[in-house]
């Protein structure tokens, strides 16, 4: 077995065939073992991350996987569309963006194991475990309200609305930690243009996925789900506002808001709703979850602002994950040039 590790991928596939013919009884184990061998075959070549991580499900699908190994990747994709592209698979054709920061990115491990996703538990480490079963395909987002062309848009369509870009953004949580993440997506405005908001549309309301069966931890959080968020239309149409479908070159992991989420880098993280199911253009300012829960602590705007404290803690400084010392928090999280003009004449102490 060892010597095979060094063989190139295509040769290895041939060997797999051989192995399977010899010991059909242990087919599942063998396939898994071979997949786990590092060189040559990569996870992306064989099977999506979701499936290989879920061992039991993997073994159940082992027969299918074997067939896929024999007949090629296309068969696998045809046979198992539910895990085709939406669980940590590579996103192709992603271009760089001039809106990216050059700051040091956080590790994939940090960004996937330190999550606030209360539907999957309140501890930062819980979503990584509890979100693994979330079914993210098929997935439809309902775009409705004050639009000329309301649309039930599938995740496949969402991926094709505009060319995908990598946007490396600073992300600042209201809890005073921050990260730098290479998100993938396109400006939300591209999606908005598709449905043509009417003159009446002044705000955009976002609703995220909620299923108490898939999210049993949600009932212990003290939050009334589904999670709702919102933006003023001009905020939503700002080029920085990202409709996000991936990160680190791949589709979004479940705990980071798969399959599609918002990323609004100049606002505290809770504004960036995850796992979107509804986008509604409307006349009135929509209610938002944290504001409903504690309106004195979480405003509708929630712009990153070092001069306006959270009532219970200072927002002047933050800890970038991976750094020992705290750093100063920047106005609008360092995106003043792009967004400060949205708020001219507004008292940001009042509209926090």
């Amino acid at each position: 077995m060892r010597s095979r590790d060094r063989l190139p991928g295509h040769k290895q596939k041939k060997r797999v065939t051989l192995e399977l013919e010899v010991t059909p009884k242990y087919l599942g184990d063998v396939v898994e073992m071979l997949i786990r061998m590092k060189p040559g075959l990569t996870y992306a070549d064989v099977t999506p991350r979701e499936v290989y991580q879920n061992r039991r499900k993997f073994l159940r699908n082992a027969g299918l996987a074997a067939a896929a190994l024999l007949m090629g990747r296309e068969f696998w994709e045809l046979a198992s569309p539910s895990s085709r592209a939406y669980a940590g698979t590579k996103l192709a054709g992603v271009t760089k963006s001039s809106l990216s920061t050059t700051e040091k990115q956080n590790t994939y491990d940090d960004v996937t194991h330190y999550n606030n996703y209360y539907e999957f538990g309140v501890d930062k480490s819980e979503p990584a475990k509890n979100a693994q079963g979330l079914k993210t395909y098929p997935w439809t987002v309902s775009i409705e309200g004050e639009v000329k062309k309301p649309h039930q848009i599938s995740i496949d369509e969402i991926l094709r609305v505009a060319p995908l870009q990598e946007r490396i953004y600073r992300h600042r949580c209201v809890e005073t930690w921050s990260i730098v993440v290479p998100w993938i997506g396109y400006s939300f405005s591209a999606l908005a243009k598709l449905v043509e908001p009417t003159e009446q549309a002044k705000y955009v309301a976002f609703e995220t996925f909620y299923d108490r069966n898939q999210m049993p931890q949600a009932k212990y959080t003290g939050i009334d789900f589904p999670y709702v968020e919102g933006l003023r239309l001009d905020e939503a149409m700002n080029p920085l506002t990202l409709l996000c479908v991936g990160m680190y070159g791949e589709t979004l992991p479940n705990q980071d808001g798969a399959p599609v989420r918002m990323v609004i880098p100049w606002k505290y993280g809770f504004k960036s709703a995850k796992s979107l199911v509804k986008i509604r253009f409307q006349k009135e300012q929509p209610p938002t979850t944290w504001n409903r829960l504690a309106s004195d602590e979480y405003g509708f705007y929630a712009n990153v602002n070092p001069t306006v404290d959270h009532p219970r803690w200072s927002q002047a400084r933050e800890r970038r994950l991976g750094e020992f010392f705290k750093r100063d928090t920047l106005m609008f999280n360092g995106y003043s040039d792009q967004v400060a003009s949205l708020y001219t004449g507004m008292d940001l102490k009042k509209y926090y």
Binding site: V122, Y220, L293, A294, R312, W313, R319, L321
Partner: protein
């Protein structure tokens, strides 16, 4: 059971068990297990264990009486001192790793942030209790006076729970659970005071303490 509780090995074992949370932090530190935000993790872990150990300490008297195991008193001082130990770690983490000894900033926090204020109060009130935890101090102060002083733990535990409750964003279940346990422990004491027969012996833990610690 009585022999087991009075054995010095049992006491040593409890001592080691009380060190486990610290050992766990150390082990996690060496194995990349402190999450992406280690300082937050350490702060929360030490805070949790301070509160838990205070609760365990407060369980000693009711358990002694309800289970008829007066020997449990042998562990109370150690448990209380461990609570103080984790409280010190918690406080040190805060002023060192969170504030980097910017004492002006710390003082501003204490004055301005209610959850820090009550947390600080809870911690400060533990200091005289830790200092006067020895048999010598019980003698010096006299049992009645000593007991009165050490009832300060009730203020600490209530302040500790409020500190936790005010800290969380929405998940109040855990702080409320601690609160419920505190309520039971304090109500039991109140009830025992008015109905002394509730326990197997007189509701006066101080009487036994100096004798045991001299033994």
């Amino acid at each position: 059971m009585h022999k087991f509780l009075t054995s010095k090995w049992t006491k040593a074992a409890v001592f080691l068990i009380c060190l486990l949370p610290l050992a766990s932090l150390g082990w996690r530190g060496l194995h990349d297990g402190l999450t992406a935000n280690p300082i937050e993790f350490i702060t929360h872990a030490t805070g949790d264990w301070t509160l838990r150990l205070i609760l365990i300490t407060l369980c000693v008297t009711p358990f002694r009486k309800l289970l008829g195991l007066p020997e449990l008193i042998r562990f109370r001082r150690m448990l209380g001192l461990f609570a103080f130990f984790y409280g010190c770690l918690h406080f040190t983490t805060y002023i060192w790793l969170d504030k980097f000894f910017d004492l002006k900033e710390v003082w501003k926090d204490i004055a301005k942030r209610p959850y820090i204020t009550v947390g600080f109060l809870a911690f400060v009130l533990l200091i005289p209790l830790a200092i006067t935890s020895t048999a010598g101090w019980i003698r010096r102060l006299g049992g009645r006076c000593w007991q009165l002083l050490h009832r300060g733990i009730y203020i600490t535990v209530v302040a500790g729970v409020i500190h936790y409750y005010w800290l969380v964003k929405s998940a109040v279940l855990r702080p409320l659970t601690y609160g419920a346990i505190v309520a039971v422990l304090l109500l039991w004491r109140l009830a025992a005071k008015f109905r002394p027969r509730m326990g197997t012996e007189q509701a006066n833990p101080v009487k036994t303490q100096p004798q045991k610690s001299q033994a």
